[in-house]
């Protein structure tokens, strides 16, 4: 994840630094998921997903809308904390050759995002932010379960998910992140 020049924040309470850092970090992941579903919905049609079930296309449309809502929610919290918002720097997803290729990538991304949310939730101290982040995390887990099921993987393959640090998540998703300032 690219470092940017520090911007003096309007929020003058240093105790908010963890919340701002976590929210901007999650925002980066949400931008990535939003781009993933948008690319798939642009690239494919409802008919391409018929083999996966009649309701799959509609579900993916709903997922894309939910990722957009997540982006808006996280941006709103960062702004309310008076801090600079992480910009959307784009993505490096390939042109998916078929729905299976998209679903394979989606499983990697969704699983990484679930573990990222799990990793940061204990760091949050503001109740409103805790509630918002946790409620998004549970939806991400549902996305992961559904996409896993479409990939032929058990929806809940383990009794407990694994929390991951920022560096681990960045490594898992490195092929898909575009740095801010990097040519698209």
């Amino acid at each position: 994840m690219a470092a940017m020049a520090p911007v003096p924040a309007r929020a003058q309470d240093p105790r908010a630094v963890v919340e701002v850092a976590v929210l901007n970090y999650l925002l980066r992941l949400e931008y990535l998921q939003q781009a993933l579903y948008r690319r798939a919905l642009t690239r494919f049609s409802a008919g391409d997903f018929t083999p996966y079930g009649a309701s799959t296309w509609g579900t993916l449309l709903m997922f894309e809308e939910q990722e957009t809502t997540h982006v808006a929610t996280l941006r709103d919290f960062v702004e309310r904390l008076g801090a600079p918002v992480q910009p959307d720097c784009g993505d490096r997803f390939p042109r998916f050759r078929d729905p299976a290729a998209f679903l394979e990538t989606a499983l990697v991304v969704e699983n990484a995002v679930v573990s990222a949310y799990l990793g940061v939730t204990p760091m949050l101290r503001l109740p409103q932010v805790q509630t918002a982040v946790t409620s998004i995390a549970t939806v991400e887990a549902r996305h992961s379960a559904f996409v896993g099921f479409l990939n032929g993987v058990a929806p809940a393959p383990a009794a407990a998910d694994t929390p991951r640090a920022r560096a681990e998540v960045a490594q898992l998703l490195a092929p898909y992140f575009r740095s801010c300032g990097e040519a698209s």
């Binding site: 994840m1 470092a3 940017m4 020049a5 520090p6 911007v7 003096p8 924040a9 309007r10 929020a11 003058q12 309470d13 240093p14 105790r15 908010a16 630094v17 963890v18 919340e19 701002v20 850092a21 976590v22 901007n24 970090y25 919290f77 309310r80 904390l81 008076g82 801090a83 600079p84 992480q86 990793g119 940061v120 204990p122 760091m123 101290r125 503001l126 409103q128 932010v129 640090a165 920022r166 560096a167």
Partner: protein, 199 residues
């Protein structure tokens, strides 16, 4: 009260005490380098630090001095491995007046003391992605006490427990989400040496 106002008030108190006390009564000067452990109650964590103080002690037990302290990682989350925070710290700079039990040439070589003061509390936090880099300086008060133990004529040990609290009202925060934080306050335990001059 501004930080400068607090510093002026402290200086006035020190001068007032000095003017009321005969010069000959200023018997001792102590210089105390210490290590400290500070409790961040919000995070339920202790943070290491260090500092030093300088204090004049009169024969009548009146004390006046100053204290500087540094607390590393004060706002770091306990889950330090989740590397989102670049650096955080708090620096305290304050002046104190108080009372110390007189030295006794016979008996226990303990000299308990209590003191209170005002000063500033500088807080800093920066995230690793470079989106937030906050420094804030609040006027603050503190109160505490401890004891010095004379080991040699000019050297001893010092232990202290002190509470610091910001004087800046929480509703000065521009973000409604953080308004519930309240004024920053924390306990500091420190231990170290004390070098005695004079007396």
């Amino acid at each position: 009260m501004s930080a400068y106002g607090s510093a002026r008030t402290l200086a006035a108190c020190v001068l007032a005490i000095a003017s009321l006390t005969p010069a000959a009564a200023w018997a001792q000067l102590h210089v105390d380098p210490v290590a400290s452990w500070t409790r961040n109650g919000d995070l339920g964590a202790w943070h290491p630090g260090g500092g030093a103080s300088i204090e004049w002690l009169s024969d009548r037990g009146i004390t006046a001095g100053g204290d500087v302290g540094y607390i590393a990682g004060f706002f770091d989350p306990p889950q330090g491995a989740l590397d989102l925070i670049e650096s955080t710290h708090v620096v305290t700079l304050s002046g104190q007046v108080g009372y110390a039990a007189p030295w006794r040439r016979e008996g226990p070589r303990l000299r308990p003391f209590v003191s209170a003061g005002v000063g500033v509390m500088r807080q800093h936090a920066r995230d690793r992605a470079g989106f937030i880099d906050v420094s804030r300086t609040d006027p603050a008060w503190n109160v505490g006490g401890g004891t010095r133990i004379q080991v040699r004529r000019y050297f001893g040990l010092k232990g202290e427990l002190r509470y610091f609290r910001s004087l800046r009202a929480p509703d000065e925060s521009p973000a409604e989400l953080t308004a519930g934080f309240g004024r920053l306050g924390f306990w500091r335990i420190s231990a170290g040496g004390t070098l005695r001059f004079g007396g």
